[in-house]
């Protein structure tokens, strides 16, 4: 700590160069903050505590194939299942068929299994009373400027209404102010209204969700549920919600690989860049370092000071970069009105980022620091 002012003086010995380098580092960690957020939101999708207690049962044949509703009581009877609910994919779109929104027809008790939807009791009651009621996520409501009480037409890209048209009219009865990004972007309608209106469904169910009490028994319960329909015309496949989501994310893209490759290229460049800056900085200060040694600074202190300087350089730039990423995310989300949903910079991103900063700082500082430590005082003072 007593060397702090020396390190500070060294860092800002050439303000211009330090600032230019800092901006480069900031850009690198801004990118890291944004991309790592995306990677984590893909990796952690569905991995919530509540997600582990829910099993999803879909058709083994394909996720678009519906299941008979008669399975519901049989799944509920499986030992370990506490409650069963179901939903159908509605395939709604607003105004244009390309403006697709995640919309589901849900069973009456669906919200009991998804407390994270965060529907207040009054809205829940209105939903129960309104046949054409629609619950919309906060982000979705913001995106289209919907309010409770609005009547909106949704176009189903799959299911026609009872009059044969694909336009369904709904009354917005509540906003789901959910922390869960997926629910915040979804809309829920009544399964019964959906089933009675469209001639295509006829009592079928897209998938079942069951809540289990004992997370450890999940595999056994999943096997028991699948055994009900084994060798029937509609075999099922049951997974924990976490596993089902992870499988789905993997099919969309190998985000982890893409992010890791990009960050590899970025950090390699950064190593080279700051390495060069540090080498320059130490080369310029050769005679000053020699003076320090002459007046009695031990070799190890000189080594430590140069290392600390490079770590501090990266830490300052990196923290600014991650800070900008943390501020930028909510700003972009708000400005885009919910069209873009950038994940926030999580604590684990900060930790990983700080770890990378220290590591890069040490690697970059190592060579110049060793050079400073081994400096021969006589040669250095003579300018040789």
């Amino acid at each position: 700590m007593k060397y702090l002012h020396l390190i500070k003086a060294a860092l800002f010995r050439r303000k211009g160069r330090t600032i230019l380098t800092l901006i480069s580092i900031t850009a690198a960690f801004l990118l890291f903050g944004m991309l790592d957020g995306v990677r984590q939101s893909f990796a952690n999708a569905g991995q919530t505590a509540a997600g582990a207690t829910r099993l999803q049962t879909g058709s083994r044949l394909s996720f678009i194939q519906p299941l008979p509703k008669a399975l519901a009581p049989r799944i509920a009877a499986v030992d370990g299942v506490e409650e069963v609910t179901w939903a159908n994919w509605f395939g709604g779109a607003y105004q244009e068929p390309s403006n697709q929104i995640f919309s589901f027809a849900i069973a009456p008790n669906y919200l009991d299994l998804y407390p994270e939807a965060n529907v207040d009791p009054a809205a829940r009651e209105r939903f129960a009373e309104t046949r054409t009621g629609l619950l919309v996520g906060k982000a979705l409501a913001d995106r289209f400027k919907w309010q409770v009480g609005d009547q909106i037409p949704l176009l189903s890209t799959i299911f026609p209404n009872s009059d044969g048209s694909k336009v369904w009219t709904f009354d917005i009865v509540g906003i789901m102010d959910s922390e869960d990004g997926f629910i915040a972007g979804s809309a829920f309608l009544h399964w019964e209204y959906f089933d009675e209106s469209t001639p295509y469904n006829q009592g079928q169910v897209g998938w079942y969700v069951s809540r289990i009490g004992d997370v450890g028994a999940g595999d056994r319960i999943a096997r028991d549920i699948d055994a009900i329909s084994q060798n029937s015309a509609h075999e099922t496949k049951t997974q924990t919600e976490a596993a089902a989501t992870a499988n789905w994310m993997k099919q969309i893209a190998d985000i982890a690989l893409i992010v890791t490759s990009i960050m590899g290229a970025v950090f390699f460049t950064l190593l080279l860049l700051t390495g060069n800056t540090m080498a320059q900085a130490v080369r310029e200060r050769t005679s000053e370092l020699a003076v320090l040694k002459t007046i009695g600074f031990p070799d190890r202190s000189v080594l430590f000071m140069v290392l600390a300087e490079s770590v501090a350089l990266i830490l300052i730039g990196g923290v600014i970069g991650l800070g900008i990423a943390a501020l930028l995310g909510p700003g972009v989300n708000a400005a885009s009105g919910g069209v873009i949903n950038m994940p926030p910079v999580s604590w684990s991103s900060w930790l990983l980022g700080l770890g990378i900063m220290v590591a890069i700082g040490l690697i970059v500082g190592a060579l110049p620091a060793l050079r400073a430590m081994r400096l021969n005082v006589v040669d250095a003072l003579a300018g040789r």
């Binding site: 211009g16 160069r17 230019l20 380098t21 901006i23 480069s24 580092i25 850009a27 690198a28 801004l30 990118l31 944004m34 991309l35 058709s59 083994r60 044949l61 394909s62 996720f63 678009i64 194939q65 395939g91 779109a93 068929p97 390309s98 697709q100 176009l155 890209t157 799959i158 694909k166 295509y200 084994q230 060798n231 029937s232 015309a233 509609h234 075999e235 496949k237 997974q239 499988n247 099919q251 969309i252 893209a253 190998d254 490759s261 990009i262 290229a265 970025v266 390699f268 460049t269 950064l270 080279l272 860049l273 060069n276 800056t277 080498a279 320059q280």
Partner: protein, 441 residues
């Protein structure tokens, strides 16, 4: 006063930079070639130009002494260009694969308001009406070249994963004329499926993605056993699919006599408008008619736009990092050569040649970085296979495509970074007060 002057100068320079970059990024390659030729002529024919050339030559000859910092510029810019080109190549590969699936002389008919094939439903009567519409080409026997198709999805075990590791494949039930409607589909192994039997053929892309799709194998879809009897190649999105007889698929998925879409080969591309108008005017139908090119382009547009925007945002942020790295190195280079530049100025060289020389040096380094970055992206990613969920229901396999246009975009970005990275140090070099610079050691 001094402050104000320097502030105005800085702002002016910034405007020049912004205008220059905007013009540059929009410029076609012919115009860029023209600019390069004009620069070369200037450097060979005019006095100032020759001065600039000699200053640049001195600068370039000292490059090896500054290997470290020169490499920072080259590799920094190579990184930007490499990542940019790779991400754009992903978008390009995705777009071409879907685009290639369509043409202007084949039409697809879906139920009105359906976003994709798998979401559409056409009743048997509709299918019959569509098949009888004028404008459809006929084969030698006078049969119309139409294929009523049923697109569903099937869960298959992913290659290299566990038995529970299922992925979704697009499963297409096709009519007897499907192969005549799409002449680009070729069997590379085995034979076609027999209508009425649970036999299927798999595309080469699907075969790469999923386990068990080999000729002679039996695979389980739900509770039913299907036999793989052939492998086909089409060079487009169809290669990621699995095909079987439409009626057999319909019975397996309990879809009765309904279909999801009708593909028709038209007599020629000009017949499309009349075909579409005929279907739109038919009171029995409520359908959307598109050329297949239009349909597949629409399917790819959203994803392609997302990939391109991501590529440019990531590339842009990296470019800022590389830009400041380049600025740093060029400021250092100019500072190291301060005395030499001051000497030149003292013996009568003007400011412009010095500016041009420093910028030329930076842009040459940037060019090298751009070429290296593009080359690495091309070597590593051209033809690289990736897959994603497409059309809502199945995995689509596609190859990254590093096209010459993308490489050119990469080089333009590199030169833009070089331009800005060189401009400020160059102006500093040209404005160096001669007397103080000469006295500096």
């Amino acid at each position: 006063m001094q402050r104000l002057k320097s502030f105005l100068r800085g702002t002016g320079l910034l405007l020049v930079v912004i205008a220059g970059i905007a013009a540059w990024l929009l410029m076609p390659w012919v115009a860029a070639l023209g600019v390069a030729a004009a620069l070369a002529l200037w450097m060979w024919l005019t006095r100032r130009g020759r001065q600039a050339r000699s200053v640049a030559e001195v600068g370039l000859s000292t490059l090896p002494q500054r290997l470290g910092s020169s490499l920072v510029i080259v590799i920094g810019i190579a990184g930007v260009v490499g990542v940019l080109v790779a991400l754009l190549a992903m978008a390009e590969g995705y777009r071409t694969t879907l685009r290639r699936s369509g043409s202007t002389d084949t039409a697809i008919v879906l139920r009105g308001g359906s976003a994709a094939e798998a979401m559409s439903v056409l009743a048997n009567e509709d299918v019959t009406v569509i098949g009888d519409t004028a404008g459809i080409a006929r084969d030698a026997d006078g049969e119309p070249l139409v294929s009523p198709e049923l697109v569903v999805a099937a869960n298959l075990a992913v290659k290299g994963g566990g038995p529970d590791d299922l992925g979704s494949v697009q499963f297409r039930g096709v009519g007897p004329q499907a192969f005549a409607v799409r002449p680009n589909v070729e069997l590379v192994a085995g034979r076609r499926f027999t209508p009425g039997l649970r036999e299927l053929i798999a595309g080469t892309g699907a075969q790469r993605q999923f386990a068990g799709l080999e000729v002679g194998n039996e695979i389980k879809l739900g509770s039913q056993v299907w036999t793989v009897v052939g492998i086909f190649e089409s060079g487009d999105a169809m290669a990621s699919e699995v095909w079987a007889d439409a009626a057999t698929v319909a019975s397996a998925y309990r879809r009765g006599s309904s279909r999801t879409s009708v593909f028709a080969r038209l007599t020629d591309a000009g017949a499309f408008d009349a075909f579409k108008a005929a279907l739109a005017g038919d009171p029995r139908l409520s359908v959307d008619t598109m050329t297949t090119l239009e349909y597949f382009e629409k399917q790819s547009s959203q994803m392609t736009t997302i990939l391109r925007v991501v590529g440019k945002v990531v590339g842009g942020i990296m470019a800022i990092g590389a830009l400041f790295g380049a600025l740093n190195c060029m400021f250092a280079a100019v500072a190291a050569r301060a005395r030499e530049i001051a000497t030149l100025r003292a013996i009568g060289f003007r400011g412009l040649p010095v500016v041009v020389a420093v910028m030329l040096e930076t842009m040459l380094l940037a060019l090298a970085g751009g070429v290296i970055g593009g080359l690495v992206a091309w070597l590593a990613f051209n033809g690289f296979t990736a897959s994603t969920i497409a059309g809502g229901v199945g995995q689509l396999t596609f190859h990254f495509q590093v096209t010459p246009e993308l490489l050119w975009t990469g080089i333009k970005w590199a030169l833009a970074i070089g331009f800005v990275g060189g401009l400020y140090p160059a102006v500093r070099a040209a404005r160096l007060p001669v007397t103080t610079a000469l006295r500096e050691s």
